[in-house]
């Protein structure tokens, strides 16, 4: 009989961090954090940068309730890391709000004027594109963790001292 395996995942409700054993280095060089801890300890829809490579970022987000509407001049991607999260999409209507030179997403001050495009329900492990120049909004019935692949922008919050081992 073949061996049986159980795959171990974590969630905003239940996670255990690993760590770094320093022998001859500086702990801060490893910029070590945990996305579930970040989501569990921050406000809904704050975008906390957990990875940064020049201007590219990975951002952890606590999804809870309904987010503002966002848009971005470039594609972004989101992964649901534990619980169900809906992503609703709308045409912007007014594309003058898009500045092609501006990286990262920005909040819209009101619901977009364009037509509804549709929505997707993401369960744990599902990944969706947040297409360029398209408005999107997250909705989560309970606190959940999202991981965003994006570029540093006005919504990105860098709180390294707060989130990293040191």
């Amino acid at each position: 009989m073949s061996a049986q395996y159980t795959t171990s995942f974590s969630s905003i409700d239940s996670y255990e961090k690993g760590g770094v054993q320093i022998i001859d280095d500086d702990l801060k060089n490893f910029v070590f954090s945990n996305i579930y801890e970040v989501a569990a300890t921050h406000k809904p829809y704050e975008r906390i940068v957990v990875g940064k490579n020049l201007d590219y970022t990975l951002e952890a987000v606590r999804a809870e309730g309904t987010s503002p509407w966002y848009a971005c001049a470039h594609d972004e991607f989101v992964i649901a890391m534990d619980h169900n999260v809906e992503v609703h999409f709308m045409e912007l209507g007014d594309t003058s709000k898009i500045d092609d030179e501006q990286d990262g997403s920005f909040k819209l001050t009101a619901q977009p004027l364009g037509k509804k495009i549709g929505m997707v329900t993401l369960s744990r492990g599902h990944m969706a594109m947040l297409p360029e120049k398209t408005a999107y909004q997250f909705r989560a019935a309970k606190p959940s963790t999202l991981l965003l692949q994006t570029i540093l922008g006005q919504e990105s919050l860098e709180r390294w001292t707060e989130i990293c081992l040191k």
């Binding site: 171990s8 690993g18 996305i35 579930y36 992964i79 594109m129």
Partner: protein
């Protein structure tokens, strides 16, 4: 009395070809790969050698250094590649026994592919976890072209987008791996308004990973300019020690990986890292790392492939750490 470090390998008996490039010479017997250079020689278990060179081939020499072990490896200069012996080993260096030659990338790549083709027996899959492959040992016994010619999946925008790289299914030859039979295979529920068909793109990334047929060989699933999300499944030991030439970020999705962190130039141990689900860790640009994964696990490797970084690497101005705080 004259002494020699040359071991006796009779390729007429083993059936394996001998390969040379520059001043380097490669031989294999039933158990070992032998590497010779003007100032010395080195032996590696042939399974380890084939697993290491398989990654170097699959990754196109990757970013920076690929150490096959603590003596032999390659350094990518993006157009040319160094093949070295002892160059990044403190003792070989101090003893003056290190040696390095630089080759055009395509020339060295052809050599590694030729070795892989000739030295990989029919039962051995250098991409597979040890429990999922036959042995590399023995005399020449066929070949495994199908296994060693796999191409890693690289999305241009996102996996599953029409016209881009397709997701993995039973039908296209990617059954769920034995270690991930409990991973949810559902698809995202998409509702599209009339007139907006095919505007929403989503797929099950964890299911995609659960169907990976290789270990320690990242795919590219989403791309923002040069930001490459490269998830992978890991089991047993990373067959090389990767010496970064830029920072490299890891995000553990499932299970656990232990990382040995050594100094990039000397091999001196600097740290050990344990990553559990949700952990994010940045590998500095001056280290080499090797992962050990007791159970097949899911890991996001996040890379920046910008030409700007390649120029910074050449100029020596690339940041050594991901973030200073």
């Amino acid at each position: 009395m004259k002494s020699t470090l040359k071991m006796k390998v009779d390729s007429n008996v083993t059936g394996f070809k001998v390969f040379t490039i520059g001043q380097f010479r490669f031989e294999r017997c039933e158990y070992f790969a032998y590497i010779y250079w003007p100032l010395g020689s080195h032996m590696m278990p042939v399974d380890a050698f084939l697993r290491a060179t398989m990654r170097d081939i699959a990754w196109g020499f990757f970013y920076g250094t690929v150490n096959f072990d603590d003596v032999i490896g390659t350094i990518n200069h993006y157009g040319t590649v160094d093949l070295f012996a002892g160059t990044l080993n403190a003792e070989y260096k101090a003893g003056g026994k290190d040696y390095l030659e630089t080759f055009p990338s395509d020339v060295l790549m052809k050599l590694l592919v030729d070795i892989q083709n000739d030295w990989t027996n029919a039962a051995f899959d250098p991409f597979a976890a040890p429990q999922e492959t036959g042995a590399a040992w023995g005399r020449k016994n066929g070949s495994n072209t199908k296994a060693i010619s796999r191409k890693r999946q690289t999305a241009k925008r996102m996996i599953g987008v029409p016209g881009d790289t397709e997701t993995r299914t039973d039908a296209n030859g990617y059954p769920v791996n034995r270690a991930f039979l409990d991973v949810d295979q559902s698809s995202p529920q998409v509702v599209e308004e009339p007139g907006f068909e095919n505007r929403i793109h989503a797929f099950n990334l964890f299911a995609f990973l659960s169907r990976s047929d290789v270990t320690w060989n990242p795919s590219v699933v989403s791309v923002i300019r040069q930001s490459l999300l490269c998830p992978t499944t890991e089991e047993f030991i990373l067959p090389i020690e990767h010496g970064n030439d830029r920072v490299e970020w890891f995000l553990q999705i499932s299970d656990e990986i232990f990382w040995e962190i050594k100094d990039g130039k000397t091999g001196k141990i600097r740290a050990n890292v344990v990553m559990k689900p949700g952990d994010v860790c940045c590998m500095p640009a001056d280290i080499r790392h090797r992962g050990l994964s007791p159970k097949r696990s899911m890991l996001i490797v996040w890379e920046n492939g910008s030409p700007e970084i390649m120029e910074m690497v050449k100029a020596g101005t690339v940041p050594r750490v991901g973030v200073e705080f």
